[in-house]
């Protein structure tokens, strides 16, 4: 694999990130640090600002204050957020593969576009390899998104992100639109790719079990604020500090009748 994108093994640090829409504070002073090669999860309910954090990192949401910075890189200068090199190093996979792929472009064009934008040659070989990497053969190359199942689409979305050989992958609910059995396949694929390419993950999900499965550390968010930062092992052992986190844990264990009916 070529490393012309810049540094290998980069992490990321966010310092008091703040995103404001008019007078609504979507993300309030969020700080986190993800070491190179680590996997970090963000959990919260809708409206908690978890997706906005990811969008702010890659420039899709306006930063009111705070900073995004890459870490590591073995001495090579790291690109600043918003630059083309930064965008090549930091790629995103969106939640809904039904909405994130262009319906009138073939898989081939979807995968060729990021290469064209970044002026990377050997599109032919790279597209073939990218499809192989996500477990889809070359037979999928000239299909349209509507000819693919949800799981296959999400694999294409992952291939589109990985074709630039990024170091950091931002995953915004990558499996919440998929069936349970397909979810397992996509999660396994992501884990395999991470260990093979030593990628850094920042993953957003509302599903505590998925995040603890995928990530070593995680952050719980509520109404734009950080509720708690903890390790997955602590969460699994129910060693949580905050009542809100505990609520989430109870909720994710399923429905419980309060009074015994019948």
């Amino acid at each position: 694999m070529s490393q012309d994108a810049g540094a290998s093994h980069v992490g990321m640090e966010l310092r008091s990130l703040r995103v404001v829409y008019d007078d609504f504070v979507a993300v309030a002073d969020t700080s986190l640090k993800v070491e190179a090669g680590q996997s970090f999860g963000i959990v919260g309910e809708s409206g908690s600002g978890k997706s906005t954090v990811l969008r702010a990192i890659c420039g899709l949401a306006p930063l009111a204050s705070g900073s995004v910075q890459l870490l590591g890189g073995n001495g090579t200068p790291l690109p600043a957020p918003g630059s083309k090199r930064f965008r090549r190093l930091v790629q995103m996979v969106f939640q809904d593969p039904y909405g994130s792929l262009h319906p009138r472009q073939t898989v081939d064009r979807i995968l060729a576009e990021p290469l064209a934008i970044h002026g990377i040659g050997d599109a032919e070989g790279r597209i073939e390899r990218a499809l192989d990497d996500v477990g889809l053969g070359n037979g999928f190359r000239f299909r349209y998104p509507h000819q693919l199942s949800g799981g296959q689409r999400q694999r294409i979305a992952i291939a589109r992100a990985l074709i630039l050989e990024p170091q950091i992958l931002l995953l915004d609910e990558p499996t919440s639109a998929l069936d349970a059995s397909v979810q397992a396949e996509v999660l396994n694929l992501l884990e395999a790719l991470r260990s093979k390419r030593s990628l850094t993950f920042i993953m957003v999900s509302h599903d505590l079990a998925v995040v603890t499965h995928m990530c070593e550390r995680l952050m719980v968010m509520q109404r734009g604020k950080t509720v708690e930062l903890l390790s997955s092992a602590d969460l699994a052992a129910s060693q949580v500090q905050d009542a809100y986190t505990r609520n989430l844990m109870v909720a994710s264990s399923g429905f419980r009748r309060k009074e015994t009916v019948e």
């Binding site: 309910e45 349970a180 059995s181 397992a184 396994n188 505590l208 603890t212 499965h213 009748r257 009916v261």
Partner: protein
């Protein structure tokens, strides 16, 4: 089957088949011979996308798309033959005696009508009531689904309320005509986990209070198992297994076991996750 069914079953489905035309001029069977009997109980139907679970629910209400063909040996609701009744009878039943809660309140509510007006519309379609009575019953329905300020929510449009609130309004609308059977098609999949539980608790209380039959359609096996009395597991248009909710761990079919297994669990260290190894004979 029919272990929990009373002497007078609410719904009898026998050998239900639904097919749709495909491009080769033939027909594809989406549902291939589903049978079950429903009493006053909570029945879960679980399966992945394309398993035919939603089509089963829609056929009971008569909402199958026009090009779909529905056939069954028996499809009876309280002794009424649903397949051979007139459209007028069907209309009276739909929303009146059989109601359906759909997945996403963003799409299933009318965006240009206030929530109050939509609830009243359901009521007026099925009974003659005065404007004042309709209004007071709409308020009562909103209160029944634990909406704090019913007067305020009554006047709001769907885009002005949250997902959980919208789904509660949808449930209020379905319950105002006092149905005997409620079909809930993924009623909480579009909601947050915490809100999900509130909505389920409301649904649960209403089913118990009113003695309704409930069909709960979902892809989430674990959620269904904590909510329903028994579960039908569907795969490729067929019921592959029926399990009682308490005995999910004792499920026999490899598909059911695979579905349970492939979910990540808190405090469980399995890398990689087991995936489903689909056997062609499951779909036979």
């Amino acid at each position: 089957m029919g272990s929990a069914a009373n002497s007078d079953p609410v719904l009898v489905v026998e050998d239900l088949r639904i097919s749709f035309p495909n491009r080769d001029g033939g027909r594809t069977e989406a549902v291939r011979g589903v049978s079950f009997t429903l009493g006053r109980e909570r029945l879960g139907i679980v399966g992945e996308s394309g398993s035919g679970k939603s089509q089963t629910g829609r056929a009971i209400l008569g909402l199958t798309a026009p090009e779909g063909l529905v056939s069954a040996k028996r499809l009876e609701f309280h002794g009424v033959d649903l397949l051979h009744c007139t459209p007028k009878q069907r209309r009276e039943m739909r929303g009146g005696r059989i109601a359906m809660v759909l997945q996403d309140p963003k799409y299933s509510l009318n965006p240009v009508m206030t929530i109050g007006a939509q609830i009243e519309e359901t009521l007026r379609a099925h009974s003659k009531v005065s404007g004042r009575e309709a209004r007071s019953r709409a308020m009562a329905a909103l209160e029944a689904v634990q909406i704090d300020q019913p007067e305020r929510v009554y006047r709001l449009y769907p885009h002005e309320v949250s997902g959980g609130m919208g789904q509660r309004a949808m449930i209020a609308m379905m319950l105002i005509a006092d149905p005997e059977l409620l079909i809930a098609d993924e009623p909480t999949s579009a909601l947050d986990v915490t809100v999900q539980l509130q909505v389920l608790a409301i649904l649960d209380a209403l089913v118990v209070q009113r003695g309704m039959g409930l069909i709960f359609i979902s892809h989430d096996l674990r959620l269904v198992s904590t909510f329903c009395d028994r579960i039908l597991v569907m795969y490729a248009g067929k019921v592959v297994e029926e399990v009682s909710a308490g005995n999910l761990a004792g499920a026999q079919h490899p598909y059911t076991r695979g579905l349970l297994n492939c979910l990540p669990r808190l405090g469980d260290d399995r890398h990689p996750l087991p995936t489903l190894d689909r056997q062609p004979e499951w779909a036979v």
